[in-house]
Symmetry: C2
């Protein structure tokens, strides 16, 4: 039993490896990474930045698939152990609320989570430019698109796994039409998943370290813990040869998640292994999903590696929460209620 | 009486000059422009991009005032004839919904309009970057800020003067942190001025002519007419020496204003006079308000000139609607229901 509690169901068959002896960092890699490598299915060149959930005794995922025409779409995948995945060769068919076909022009970087009895996919969609798309399903057969919550341009929409004070809550990272000369995380609320408002600033790029000085973006759906909402996110730095994406971790206030309680000043995972440092886009670790066990506190983090592969990493809620608290550095006015 | 009807109250003392003989264009300038020139009040260097309404037998306005510290704020102004304005030396004090002081860090390009018994100011505000601010007043003494409707970055928020199908409707122009490498106009709806959604694309930059090929942005609050919502807007082209802002006109569908019915392929006013071509920012015509007379169809258009002065121009609803219809060119998928 963990000291810090994860407020979530148990996942008895969560994938797991203990921390290697002699390893110092708070997040460690699965020994058989990448769990999904190049050409994972016919017509699919690369899979990365993807999201999984437990589903009965098995697992299901929504994967960012770069098909061989080079345009990203979302494909379903199935697994019994959350390690070995069978990926659908054909992408998800979305419909609108009247049942009419309603495909996004492109779709990438999905998040996937369950609220009450419904699963939601949130992804980056085309709305005369990049913005956030939302769809719901109860059976992973019919996927109904809802209204786009925000105007373009926006990326990294992350829905919380339950309503807070009666409203749905989503994080997002407003951006521009390119590689974003800004990049803070904001929070928005909705009573009905149609109309969104009460927008608040949550987290700024920057800080003493340089690993998150260009932009940041939400990651997997936040994990409810007894110490706050635990969220892994990505932080980006710039080099003479391009961006480097690392993973950070933050604890947001349970009742008002626009308040940052603790934020690790250090990255918790950065591109080091060849499957992370080399690929379609070098030097990218991009977390999009976790499996987390409300019984033991085990956390398995799914991340995109170099825009080419899926990697898996582990931590425990005790280890990561203690690390974030021990190394905390909030940036700008992170620690206060987000200003309007 | 005009053939095309303006659905609005009469303004018996609307400022007016007939079209000069021999003048061909559909919008003509006030002969004594600019109506507000440099240093219009103590401590205010320039006023431009400002909005006025009729108020009883007089007129009241919200002005973009560049104070001598070079930061824009909103100042009230009063006039008996809508031509000669007395500008307050001190900016508007905003409060939040609990009555606590709530000043924007900066405020510019206001729009001002009445919906039912309440006046609304919409402006470009600081929300960790440029976004849309909204405040309401019933007496022009107490100004209560409402929730910011959108995430940053956004500019040129324009509220319609009545609810449409039960919802408030706002146009806006998503932008970036600088001078915007994109620039289309979108529409959003709200049941309560707190939560916004059902975002739709309305108008694209571009077209055959080049005067609006860089970006466009909504102008004065749309005027309800028997032929649709008449809106003046700004269109921007780029040159080797910077941007040039002209004024265009468009008719949007009354019931679904994400549909462009007619859109003039030509500008209807472009910088020509010295007070428009030379100033803090050369070559800018930026319309923010109209007075319009439901009885005669007269329209007086208030526009910022060269980010330095306020200009006034005239047209009639018959003249401008006929011109827009006769010269119409819709761009991209303007003419259809805006895609999600």
């Amino acid at each position: 039993m963990s000291k810090v509690k994860i407020i979530a169901d148990a996942i008895k068959n969560i994938p797991w490896e203990d921390k290697p002896s002699g390893y110092h960092a708070p997040v460690w890699r699965h020994s058989q990474n990448p769990i999904i490598d190049r050409n994972p299915a016919k017509g699919i060149s690369r899979i990365f930045n993807s999201a999984v959930v437990s589903y009965g005794e098995t697992f299901i995922g929504v994967f960012r698939a770069e098909t061989i025409d080079g345009r990203p779409h979302l494909h379903l995948g199935y697994s019994d152990d959350a390690l070995s995945w069978s990926i659908e060769e054909v992408g998800i068919d979305f419909v609108d609320e009247t049942g009419k076909a309603f495909q996004p022009n492109y779709a990438y970087d999905p998040r996937l989570l369950k609220i009450e009895d419904t699963y939601y996919i949130i992804w980056c969609t085309d709305f005369y430019g990049a913005s956030i798309g939302v769809a719901k399903t109860t059976d992973f057969k019919t996927f109904v698109r809802l209204e786009n919550p925000f105007l373009p341009f926006n990326r990294n929409g992350v829905l919380f796994p339950r309503k807070i004070n009666g409203n749905y809550v989503m994080l997002s990272r407003p951006s521009d039409s390119g590689h974003t000369p800004f990049g803070d995380i904001f929070l928005s609320e909705s009573p009905d998943l149609v109309y969104w408002g009460k927008h608040r600033h949550v987290m700024s790029k920057g800080g003493y370290g340089w690993w998150q000085n260009v932009k940041i973006g939400g990651g997997p759906a936040p994990i409810e813990t007894s110490e706050g909402w635990l969220m892994f996110y990505h932080g980006v730095t710039g080099t003479c040869n391009g961006f480097v994406y690392s993973m950070g971790a933050v604890l947001l206030d349970l009742d008002n998640p626009s308040i940052v309680k603790y934020r690790s000043k250090n990255f918790v995972l950065t591109p080091e292994e060849s499957y992370e440092t080399t690929g379609f886009v070098d030097n990218v670790i991009f977390p999009c999903a976790t499996l987390h066990d409300g019984e033991t506190g085990k956390i398995a983090i799914y991340y995109g590696a170099a825009d080419t592969r899926v990697g898996l990493a582990y931590t425990t809620v005790d280890e990561i929460v203690n690390y974030v608290k021990a190394t905390s550095e909030t940036v700008a006015d992170d620690a206060t209620v987000g200003r309007m």
